[in-house]
Each structure stands twice: as C-alpha cells, then as structure tokens.
Amino acid sequence: MLIFELSRPGRKNPSQAPAAAAEANDIPAHLRRQDKPLLPEVSEMDAVRHYTRLSQKNFSIDTHFYPLGSCTMKYNPRGSHQMAMLPQFLARHPLAPESTGQGVLACFYELQEMLKDVTGMAGVSLTPMAGAQGEFAGVAMIRAYHASRNDAARTEMLVPDAAHGTNPASAVMCGFTAREIPTDRDGNVDLAALKAAVGPHTAGLMLTNPSTLGVFEKNIQAMQQIVHEAGGLLYYDGANLNAILGRVRPGDMGFDVIHVNLHKTFSTPHGGGGPGSGPVGVSERLLPFLPVPVVKLDAGRYRLVTEHDLPQTIGRLSAFMGNTGILLRAYAYARTLGGDGMRRVADFATLNANYLMAELQKAGFDIAFPQRRASHEFIVTLKGLKDKTGVSAMDVAKRLLDKGFHAPTTYFPMLVPECLLIEPTETESKQTLDAFVAALKEILEEAVATPELVKTAPHTMPVRRLDDVKAARELDLTWKA
C-alpha cells in the first residue's frame, strides 16, 4: 500500500499548513506551474499510521539481529543520539563565527585527535560524507602527491580481488586504471603476483584489511615494503576497522592513507538509518593534501584550517564540516568507550565471529577458510548444500527472514561460490548468536527434508519472494494512478 493509494480528493491537513503562503513572484509567470502537483491528500493521522506501519514491516538493528557481512551493523547507542541532539548543537549555524562555536569545534578537534590516535596517522580530516567519498579523498590525495612530484607515469592503482568493490571504482573515479591482484589459497594477497605487478607505473595499493574474506593479511609488512620500494603509496580501506580497533594501527603498518567509516566502527546509524561519514587519516607526506576544513588548536583557540592555510589541499568534499550530526554521535561514542573500550570492541567483535563460525561448523556448515582464524566476519559456503538439495544461498537467506533474522550478505565476495558473509559485531549476546545458529541448523534440516519450503521462502513476511530480476530489468520508480 502506497500513501498515494490512501489519497482522497480534498482531504487536507490545514492545521499543519502555513497560515500565509508566500507568493512566488520572483519567478517569471511563464515558468510557474499552472496546475497543482500531484501529492497525496491524507489526514495527519493517515500519514502517521501509514509510516508507522511501514516501519514495523522493516528489519532494523533496533528490532532484529542484522549480521550483514562487511557492513558492521551494530547497535546505535541512544546516549550518542542524545548528546548530538543537544539544543546548542542543533541551533548552531555553520556560518556563525568561530568565537561562538568553540564547543563544537573542540568536539571535532578531539574526534580528529582520537581518530589519529586509533589509526596511527599524522593528520585527519572529518569532511568526507560516506565511506566511498573517504576512498575518493584518499585516492585523490595519492594522485595529488604524485602530481606534486611531477611523477606523471604513476597511472595504475593495484587492488586485491578480496577488496571492497568500491576500491576499484574509487581508483577509476580519480583517473587511475585499476589492476586486480589475485588471492592465494589461504585468502592472503598473492605476493608473487604483487611483486610482478609493481613498477614505475604504480600509484599505489588499496588494501581492505581484514579483507572481505574475513581474514587479516599475514604478509602485511612484506606488501608494504614491495609497494613503497616501487614508489607507490599504500591506501588502507578502514571499513573493517572494527576487528582491529585499539589492537593494531594502520599507521604503524606503514600505510599512507586510511578512511574510517564512522557509521560502522563508531556506531552511528547506518544504511537507510542515517547518512554516512568517512573521515580520512594520512601519514606525514600527505598532510599538505588533506581535504579542508580541518580544525586546528592555535594558542588555546580552535579554528578552521582552510585553502588559505593548506594551498595544496584536494579541496572541499562537503558543505562545512561534513555530516556534523554524525561526527558528534561518533565523538560521543568514542568518548564513552575510551581507549580500553575500543580494545574491547575489537576483542568481542572477533570473539563473536569466531564463536559463531565454530558453532556453525559444528552444526554442519562448510566454512570457506576453516584453516584461518576469523577476524570480525567469516564466510560460509553453501555450494555443497546446493549440489545436494538444490537449495541456494539466496534461499537460505530468505528463509532466515521467516525465523526472525536479517540475512547475512549473500554472493559476496564473488571468490567463494554460494556464500554467506556473516558479521555478528560485538553488540550481540551469546543468546542471540545461539538462536541464530539454531535457526540456520533448522534451515539445513529443512533443505534436506522439505527443500521446496526453503526454495519458496519467505512465508511469513509482508511480501513473498520479490522478482529482483524483473525489478532490475524493468526499473520503474514512478507511481501511476
């Protein structure tokens, strides 16, 4: 049911409308529309009930376990929301003078410092408004660095095939050619292939670590050496930072640039729940290229560093400081946890993933890399099940909805056939994890005894199996009466 279908001609909600509508007399008459826009005509109560019902049909982190691999769907603490919603933050205008905004600038400055500390980088800019924009900023800085040295030959960005899919896209967006580096049997980057690929054309390497295979790169130091010796820079995709928070630092591993997803690791709302935030951290040599503004502490006063102070900056990526409300939530979260708390995040994220992996293995599931300890996520492959019963990873994912769980990531990474990428995060209890294992075990039994039941799932949702092929082939987002 769409809100348009609830519409009844003339049903209005005058109490909400402004008393006097402004005349649009600064727009020439011939450009003004003559007829009214086709908007749904509903009462206030109709609108409230409609959207409340829609929200109840949804899976969300507030209602369900949401083990979506590589997405770090963890609980968003209400305390962080409450702090970011303080009226003094909400009422502040971004163009108000710095002298009246020392409080909010102090929060941004301290967040920059905490992110520097936890990543081991020399400088941080908070302005990118999504993980992908953080990647864009990072790669743009690598490009600016080579350009500043008149090193125009470096046109190629190396990207392991176990990286996040956005990595090659970000490289191409910045004008590089993306070159794929394969993975060895244990899930590490193939060092021989990396050695063969580097040269005077290498701009850098973009590494997702832990990778989308849910393992920590064993040869990280060797990789760092190979790329740096060839004159390339190292980019760290910090989307999976949850696994290493407070334990190891990309800066100490020799990386030149990292982006951090606050909407993952720092528990701000995620997915449809809120805008993202992808701050970037850099090593000494990339400091001149950081996106502006950055907050600086000058003789006890906080001030914004702009193009004027940083002439080589890659520029502005967002209006003002980026997604301010999200930065404040992340700041509250980081201050609540402190250094010890951040270490516990990594400990329990990793413990939960390894516990879940061990229990699923006991329950009869095939683990893609059983010889490796999981980081914060791991991969189950259902190829054996599909060969035996015809039940696919997608069928199992749909059946999980009937059992009250959001499905894990399916069919990604593509290196593993019929896979589920599972990330429980540290915020889930052992009881939730056990219930999830029990549900998957039931589905495994159903797949053998009554495969049709699983193949036609879900059975209890507001809608049955959606025709995603038709939706992709005949995309139509317009409501028609």
Binding site: Y411, F412, M414, P417, D468, V469, A472, R473
Partner: protein, 129 residues
Amino acid sequence: MSIPGDLKYTKSHEWAKLEADGTVTVGITHHAQELLGDMVYVENPAVGRQLAAGEECAVVESVKAASDVYAPLAGEVIAVNEAVVDSPEAINQDAYAAWMFKLKPANPADLAGLLDAAAYGALVESEAH
C-alpha cells in the same frame, strides 16, 4: 556442462569463434552465465575501438554482480550485438548464440593461443574444487 568443440576460450570465461570471413565473434560462456545468474544489463564496447588482448572492454551485470568482459585477443571492434543489450536474458538462454561483439583480429594467429574446449573444460573443473 556445455562447451562447444568448435570454439576457443579464455581463462576469464569468454568464448571466441573464428568466422569464415576471418573476423572473430566473442561472448561469455555458459559456465560464466551460470555463475553470474540472471543477467540484467550488458554494455558493449564502441564500434571502431582498438582492443589489446586481455583488455577490459565490456560489462555484464546480473542480479548478483557486475563483471568485466575481457578481449580474448587484440583487434578492432567491428560490430556489437544490440539484441543482447535490449534483452540481456538472451545470454542466460543460450550463451553461445547470444554473442556480444565481433573483432577484426590484429593478428589472426593469436587465436591459436587460446584454450580449446578440452582445456577450458579442465579449467572449469579445477575451479570447482
């Protein structure tokens, strides 16, 4: 497993067919479409584009993933199949009939360097384990 004996293959799952006029027709294999699942989008190279062997030159997208298609050998694109762009599902229905583009090879002898049906069958078999 459907691997016609009269075609040549690449490790990246393209097929190549030498036509009587010396041109080479290219598509993706039955195995590739099976891995990708229901196709929803196809992007072909521009006619006239010069391709290097192994160069990314086309894209196939399914409900599961987008995947690059690589040129099996060097040459100039002389024709593209608009029918698969309009109906990507044709690749699922018959991957060997639903060709994507035709090349005029820079060096026709390059074709001999590609895999034959037996070698490609062995590759698919080894990837399954």
